[in-house]
């Protein structure tokens, strides 16, 4: 059984009209699903309690967010990553961020108590938030709070992050934790924010060999991405055998994304989502929680997350987008939107250095697997 988690309060997570992390993307998605004949009938979460936040974040940081939210001057906001261009302070920030965490936590709860086999949380995925710091549009780390909840109930969790940016917050919070396997595929931090996520970051102490990073070259295309994904993810899950899988399904690895340079297509995303479900079936009795994440291109993001929703629910994928939806949002945003659900083929002109990029990714993937073998199967 699939349960959708969503609350209208998610739309209040809004850094302002000029900011890329806009709630419009979410509105477009919900409207699109509605028009496609699949209105979301979600379970609504409560905002997360302070106590649950403190399982992941420092007291000092949560207090700083609360103060900033009340409009009080925060001592040294820079230290907490607040009031920066990426994370400007807005009224209601604390509460809105708590709803996002509450939703992901509710998802974990539903999975743990077998109320659902699959949960799609239509928000969250704030993977950059750190223990004591806001970063990269993320205030509270909903993923880490949900994972911590499952750990505290004795479960093991695999975390899979396909956002184009490295899932640094989640990785760091569980860096020495043996019961959490993290796998992040992203554009290499040598180029892209946040700068981490290199192959050699394997975890520490008992967590070693359980934090996996696949840093892909800029302008990596779908074939090369999917090859790396299939080389690493099923093997890691087969070895780790998690009780639960948590997937951060950011949409910013799409070729049209304005903040990064990977070149996935909607077709590639659909394949990725299918594989996530397959792997969940195969390695953790289908128990998987999906969240949204990054994704800043209004042309592609609603289509990608609609594909996520339709795939999870096993609904057929319409080839055309509803004309009324398209017209409404074209008028509202003043942009031209595509008429089809999937990208045209080809979705973009040929990329120079295509073979070199694919070779580089292959060697990165091999290097990762080679360095994991001693931790997984003993010395070779």
């Amino acid at each position: 059984m699939v349960i959708d988690v969503y609350d209208p309060n998610y739309l209040a997570y809004d850094f302002g009209p000029a900011h890329p992390f806009s709630p419009v993307r979410l509105e477009m998605l919900l409207d699109l699903l509605h028009e496609l004949g699949h209105p979301v009938g979600p379970m609504a979460p409560q905002p997360v309690s302070r106590e649950d936040l403190l399982t992941v974040h420092s007291e000092e940081y949560v207090s700083a967010v609360e103060e900033a939210d009340r409009g009080e001057p925060v001592t040294d906001p820079d230290r907490f990553g607040l009031g920066t261009p990426d994370n400007p302070v807005f009224p209601g920030m604390d509460q809105a961020a708590r709803y996002l965490v509450g939703g992901t936590l509710l998802g974990a709860h539903l999975l743990f108590y077998d109320k659902a086999q699959t949960v799609i949380q239509l928000g969250g995925g704030m993977h950059h938030a750190q223990r004591d710091r806001a970063s990269g549009f993320c205030v509270y780390n909903d993923l880490a709070v949900a994972i911590r909840y499952l750990l505290d109930h004795g479960a093991t969790v695999a975390y899979l992050d396909i956002d184009v940016h490295h899932g640094d917050g989640v990785q760091t919070i569980f860096y020495d934790e043996p019961s959490v396997l993290t796998i992040s595929l992203h554009e290499s931090g040598q180029y892209l924010f946040p700068g981490t996520g290199e192959v050699h970051e394997l975890g520490k102490l008992h967590g070693r060999g359980r934090k996996l990073n696949v840093p892909l070259a800029p302008f990596t295309e779908a074939d090369s991405y999917l090859r790396a994904f299939s080389a690493v993810v099923p093997q890691a899950l087969a070895w780790f055998r998690p009780d639960f899988l948590v997937v951060q399904a950011g949409a910013d690895a799409h070729a049209g994304d304005p903040l990064a340079d990977l070149l996935l297509t909607t077709q590639a995303f659909e394949t990725l989502f299918q594989r996530c479900l397959e792997y969940a079936d195969k390695f953790c009795r289908g128990r998987v929680l999906f969240t949204l994440g990054g994704g800043y291109d209004v042309h592609s993001v609603p289509r990608i997350w609609a594909l996520l929703y339709l795939t999870i629910h096993g609904h057929p994928v319409a080839s055309e987008l509803p004309a009324s939806w398209r017209q409404r949002w074209q008028e509202r945003l003043g942009v031209d939107l595509p008429a089809a659900m999937h990208d045209p083929n080809p979705a973009y002109p040929p990329v120079p250095l295509r073979e070199e990029i694919a070779d580089h990714n292959r060697s990165i993937t091999n290097r990762l697997l080679d360095s994991l073998m001693p931790y997984w199967y003993g010395s070779v």
Partner: protein, 207 residues
């Protein structure tokens, strides 16, 4: 970055009348390859694991006995560094003399040691990522005020510069690699281009 920021201290030393065998054990015990040699507390040379191996090798025409004193095989006089020397100065000395370490002297006192590995650590610190940031690479004409213009632009955007590396390229242009604390770097790169900066990364899209 100064030598005192990267040196190891305190230093494991050997007396000049120690034997090759005991010095070898000392190196094994501490997991080190370079040992300053002292006589009455005064630095007189440096002995490395390579010195010991060569001295005792069966391939040598006159191999030393493991019981020989290390002063017979040490390099002397020792080349040293000052704690206040810049790191690059230490690197240049080691590179030019092709040696693997520099004992660090403050006046007459041996206060630390710098090895090739410490220099690699320094390189990692200089080029590494300590805070969430993205890579911005800009080519600047080699005249005064260009870096200031770039820094002023970023300051106006309230974007924090986490680190800067620079080198001159073949066209006498200065290539700057900055790590800047924002996820929205492509947007900033675009604005820099319209301001006339030559932005090398983030790249323009390939089509």
């Amino acid at each position: 970055m100064l030598v005192r920021d990267i040196m190891k201290s305190p230093v494991v030393v050997a007396e000049c009348d120690a034997t090759l065998a005991s010095t070898y054990s000392l190196m094994r015990e501490h997991g080190i390859r370079h040992v300053p040699v002292v006589r009455q507390g005064k630095l007189v040379g440096v002995v490395t694991d390579r010195d010991l191996r060569l001295a005792t090798s069966a391939l040598s025409t006159k191999p030393f006995s493991p019981k020989a004193r290390i002063e017979k095989v040490m390099s002397q006089p020792a080349q040293t560094a000052d704690p206040l020397d810049p790191v690059e100065e230490a690197a240049r000395t080691m590179r030019q003399l092709k040696i693997g370490c520099l004992p660090v002297m403050s006046g007459a006192d041996l206060v630390g040691i710098v090895t090739g590995l410490d220099l690699l650590d320094a390189l990692l610190r200089l080029t590494g990522v300590s805070m969430p940031s993205g890579r911005l690479e800009v080519g600047l004409p080699d005249h005064p005020g260009e870096l200031a213009r770039l820094a002023a632009f970023l300051a106006a955007k309230q974007v924090n510069i986490r680190s800067i590396l620079s080198h001159a390229d073949a066209d006498d242009r200065i290539r700057l690699v900055l790590r800047v604390g924002t996820i929205e770097l492509k947007v900033i790169a675009q604005e820099l281009r319209t301001q006339g900066f030559e932005v090398l990364w983030p790249a323009l899209s390939p089509w």
